[in-house]
């Protein structure tokens, strides 16, 4: 996979450049804005991974294997313990809520807690986008 390519595309698009200390010709340290190969590859890898995870979770929700909560958890880069702690709901309950049949029966008050933490509306939380 050409991970650095993905990185470079985004790099050109957003224009948010970071600084790096580098030696100039006279052996003095100066600030430079060109990213290194290592960063490009790793960042590209992480981005690809996040995107594939997100896409897989979306498909899993459509296939009825997971609840939409799972998709939004991936979208916000939470893992299970983090989500549980943020929402103030025990992690074994959150785990149960990832099953679609149990998620469908949740009370609005519980949904509201998830919606608040994940920054989506309750309506959005019940569905995932079709692409």
């Amino acid at each position: 996979m050409e991970y650095d390519k993905i990185f470079n595309e985004l790099f050109d698009a957003d224009g948010l450049r970071k600084g790096y200390y580098k030696l100039d010709g006279q052996g003095k340290y100066v600030l430079d804005t060109n990213p290194t190969l290592g960063e490009a590859v790793v960042n590209g890898l992480m981005l690809t991974e996040l995107r594939t995870h997100l896409e897989e979770s979306r498909k899993a929700v459509h296939a009825g294997l997971k609840s939409p909560l799972f998709y939004y958890m991936e979208l916000r880069q939470f893992d299970l313990p983090t989500l549980a702690k943020s929402a103030g709901i025990a992690s074994f309950r959150v785990k149960r809520h990832l099953r679609p049949e149990i998620f469908a029966k949740l009370k609005p008050s519980v949904l509201e807690r998830y919606a608040k933490v994940l920054m989506v509306t309750q309506q959005e939380l019940k569905t995932v986008p079709d692409i």
């Binding site: 450049r17 600084g19 790096y20 200390y21 790793v42 981005l47 702690k85």
Partner: protein, 344 residues
């Protein structure tokens, strides 16, 4: 470099920096009339560090820290330079935001710790759930706040909701509205004394912590883990955790290698300050250490891209970290000796 106005109409020059916290600290001091460069703050605040924390996991990956814990650089630098400063955290977001507004109105510029994922202006490439990103708030505007984020090269606008969210993300990495600013600074602090303190402290942190996960010992611990990882975890998973490590070496803050270069830059400035050839030589050593870290990340990148499977192995990557550990140990032992000879 752009000039902005703060709440009480004073000009503020936005400097692009390599690392968020040191650059913020440098800018806070600069705004009060004390010009200290970013690497200098990094050295005085004893920013350089190594810690491999297998028990702390961020999105399934272990944390490898290349600098001291968030907040400590500002605290140490401010103490050593004799500044009068305030550090606060909050439980209640509303109170945190109200106090921020009050302090801004009083004419201060304020440093904040925020979660990088929830800052509205950050692009997809930089977004990850990391709760220790430092920014400066300059003033309140109609739409929210004017922000100088030294990681990027120009000031930004940020909505009030977004900022509140980023300051108070619930969960384990909660910054709890961490807020800091300087009330006043000494215009002519004793830089030499501060540098010596910073260097001594760094030596202690790197060499003397009696736990296997910090300092030079931590590097060796990590190296052994990496060498064993393909047998233990399988190739795919090992690649993932290696990528996680490289992410800490290259990306977070200014990356581990970046911190080494920054420390080298500090040594360079200190060498000029003290007129010491030994410090200049140590600066070159530190550059070489930074290069070794970078070599590690290139090797790791090749492993991940599966180029040249014969030559680029996990054993080689681990070996490079061991080499870094040996070199850093030698470096800090040498620095310990050199510091003793320096006079404040």
């Amino acid at each position: 470099m752009t000039t902005e106005l703060t709440a009480n109409g004073k000009p503020f020059v936005h400097h692009h920096g390599a690392h968020c916290e040191t650059a913020v600290t440098s800018a806070l001091f600069g705004n009060q009339g004390l010009d200290v460069s970013e690497p200098m703050i990094f050295g005085i605040g004893s920013g350089i560090f190594f810690g491999y924390l297998p028990m702390v996991k961020l999105v399934h990956l272990q944390v490898t820290a290349f600098r001291n814990k968030p907040g400590s650089v500002f605290r140490k630098a401010a103490k050593r330079l004799g500044a009068n400063f305030v550090i606060k955290t909050y439980r209640d977001p509303q109170k945190g935001m109200d106090e921020l507004r009050q302090v801004l109105k009083a004419g201060h510029i304020v440093g904040l710790a925020t979660n990088l994922y929830w800052l509205p202006y950050v692009s997809e490439r930089h977004r990850h759930n990391f709760g220790g990103h430092n920014i400066i708030v300059l003033r309140e505007t109609e739409a929210g706040f004017r922000i100088s984020d030294p990681t990027f090269d120009h000031p930004m606008d940020c909505s009030a909701d977004g900022l509140e969210r980023a300051r108070f993300v619930p969960g384990p990495m909660n910054p709890r509205g961490f807020m800091y600013y300087t009330k006043s600074v000494q215009p002519h602090p004793d830089l030499r004394q501060a540098c010596i303190k910073g260097m001594k402290n760094s030596c202690g942190l790197m060499l003397r912590i009696p736990l296997p996960i910090f300092g030079v010992r931590g590097m060796r611990f990590l190296a052994k883990k990496i060498i064993k990882s393909p047998d233990k975890l399988g190739f795919q998973e090992a690649c993932r955790s290696l990528a996680g490590t490289v992410r800490w070496v290259e990306e977070t803050g200014t990356g581990g290698a970046g911190f080494r270069y920054m420390y080298a830059a500090f040594m360079q400035e200190a060498a000029e300050l003290f007129g010491s050839d030994e410090l200049a030589r140590l600066s070159r050593d530190m550059t070489a250490i930074g290069d070794t870290w970078r070599e590690f990340s290139v090797t790791a990148a090749r492993i991940i891209k599966q180029r040249d499977k014969e030559a680029e192995t996990f054993a080689k990557a681990g070996g490079l970290i061991l080499k870094c550990a040996d070199r850093e140990e030698a470096f800090f032992k040498e620095l310990q000796k050199v510091v003793k000879k320096l006079e404040a």
